[in-house]
Symmetry: C2
C-alpha cells in the first residue's frame, strides 16, 4: 500500500485517539504528578537513577512522600507508568483501523498515533531516554516493555483475522521500526520529527527485506 | 536475491562454521558438563527452575558441587551459557559472507548456520524452552540475550559498510524472524525443521512488509 494511504490512515488514527489522548494527558499530569515527574527526572539525570530516593524526589517537588505514593508505586513507575497507555493506544489504533487495511499499514497507523503522543512530550522523552540509557536494569525493563507491547500488537492483529506467523512478524517489525526511529529521534543532532523518522524507518525496512 | 542464493549462501556458512561447531560442541559437552546439563534440565522440568539447587543438580549427575562450579558460574548459566557462542556464530557468518551479498541475505545465511547448530540439539532446545517459558525472570533474560545478539549483528553489518538505519533494521528483522521461527519449531505438533521455518518466516516477513 502506498505511503499516501499510510499517511491518511495515520491521520485518521491520530484523530480517533485525540480525545483519548487529551484524557490520558489529564490523567497523566495533574499538577502534583507533573511536579513529581519533573523533580524525579532532574534528580535521576543529576545523580543516576539508583542513588535517588523517593524522599528526595518529593522534597525537590515540594511535596510529601505520601503524595508521591498516591501517584506512583515506586520511583521506577515515574519512567514506566506510561507503558500501559502506549500499549492501549497502539492496540486500539490497530483494532480501529478500517477493514481491509493491510496488517503492516494498521501497525504504521498505530505508530503514527504514538508519534503524535510522544512528539508532544519531546522534553520528557529525551530526559527519560538519557536516564534509561545510563542504567542496565532500566534498559532491560524498557526491552521487556517493548516485547510486551509487540505481543499485544500481535494479538490485536490476530483478532482482526491476521494469521500466524504474519501477525507476530508484523508486530515485531513494527516495534523494530519504532525502536530504531526513536533512537534516531533522541540522537543529539536530530532535527526530524518522530513521525517522519518512523515513516522513513518503515520505508527502509521494506527496502532491506526486499533485498536492497 | 532469490531463495536459491540464500540457500547456497546458507550452505556455505554451515560449511564454514563446521569445524568451529565441532570445537564448540567439544568445549560445550565434555562428559561432566553434559551430565550436569542433562541433570539440571531434568530437575528444572520436574520442579521449576527456582526450586532447584546446585547441590541437587550435582547429586543427580553423580558429581560434586565443586565440579558444577568448574563448568558453570551458577544454575542460570546451564540455560544461557550457549548465548555467546550463538552470538559469535551469527556475527562470524555475517562477517564472512561474500562481498556484495545483500544485508538481509547475510543475516539469512547466519540464521541458516544457527539452525544447523540448534537443529542438532533439538532435545536440549525443547527442554530449555519449556523451562524458560515457565519462569518470568528467565523469559526476560532470553529477551535480553536476543537484544544483545541483535545489537552485535547490527555492528557486524556496519563493519561491512551497511549504513544506519538499514543495519539496525536488518538485524532486528533477522532476530524477529529467528524468534518467530523458533516458537513454531518448539510448538507441540511441529514437524518442520528449524532451517525451513526460518526460511518461511523470512519469506513471510518480506510479504508482510511489502503490504500483503
Amino acid at each position: 500500500m502506498s505511503v499516501a494511504v499510510i499517511s491518511l490512515h495515520g491521520m485518521m488514527s491520530v484523530a480517533v485517539v485525540g480525545r483519548r489522548y487529551a484524557r490520558c494527558m489529564a490523567r497523566w499530569k495533574p499538577d502534583g504528578r507533573g511536579r513529581l515527574e519533573q523533580a524525579a527526572l532532574e534528580l535521576f539525570g543529576e545523580r543516576g537513577f539508583e542513588k535517588v530516593t523517593v524522599a528526595e524526589i518529593a522534597a525537590r517537588a515540594g511535596l510529601t512522600e505520601r503524595t508521591f505514593f498516591r501517584h506512583y508505586a515506586d520511583k521506577r513507575e515515574v519512567l514506566f507508568g506510561g507503558g500501559p497507555m502506549l500499549q492501549e493506544l497502539l492496540v486500539n489504533a490497530v483494532t480501529d483501523a478500517p477493514d481491509g487495511t493491510a496488517p503492516i499499514d494498521t501497525v504504521a497507523g498505530a505508530l503514527d498515533a504514538v508519534a503524535a503522543l510522544l512528539g508532544a512530550r519531546r522534553d520528557f522523552a529525551l530526559k527519560r531516554h538519557a536516564v534509561i540509557a545510563a542504567n542496565a536494569e532500566l534498559r532491560e525493563r524498557e526491552l521487556i516493555k517493548l516485547a510486551l507491547i509487540a505481543a499485544s500488537l500481535a494479538e490485536a492483529l490476530r483478532a482482526r483475522g491476521v494469521k500466524e506467523p504474519a501477525a507476530s512478524l508484523t508486530a515485531e517489525a513494527g516495534i523494530a521500526v519504532f525502536r530504531v526511529a526513536f533512537e534516531r529521534w533522541v540522537a543529539p543532532k536530530n532535527r526530524q520529527t518522530l513521525a517522519r523518522l518512523i515513516r522513513s524507518s518503515l520505508d527502509e525496512l521494506k527496502a532491506v527485506t526486499a533485498g536492497a
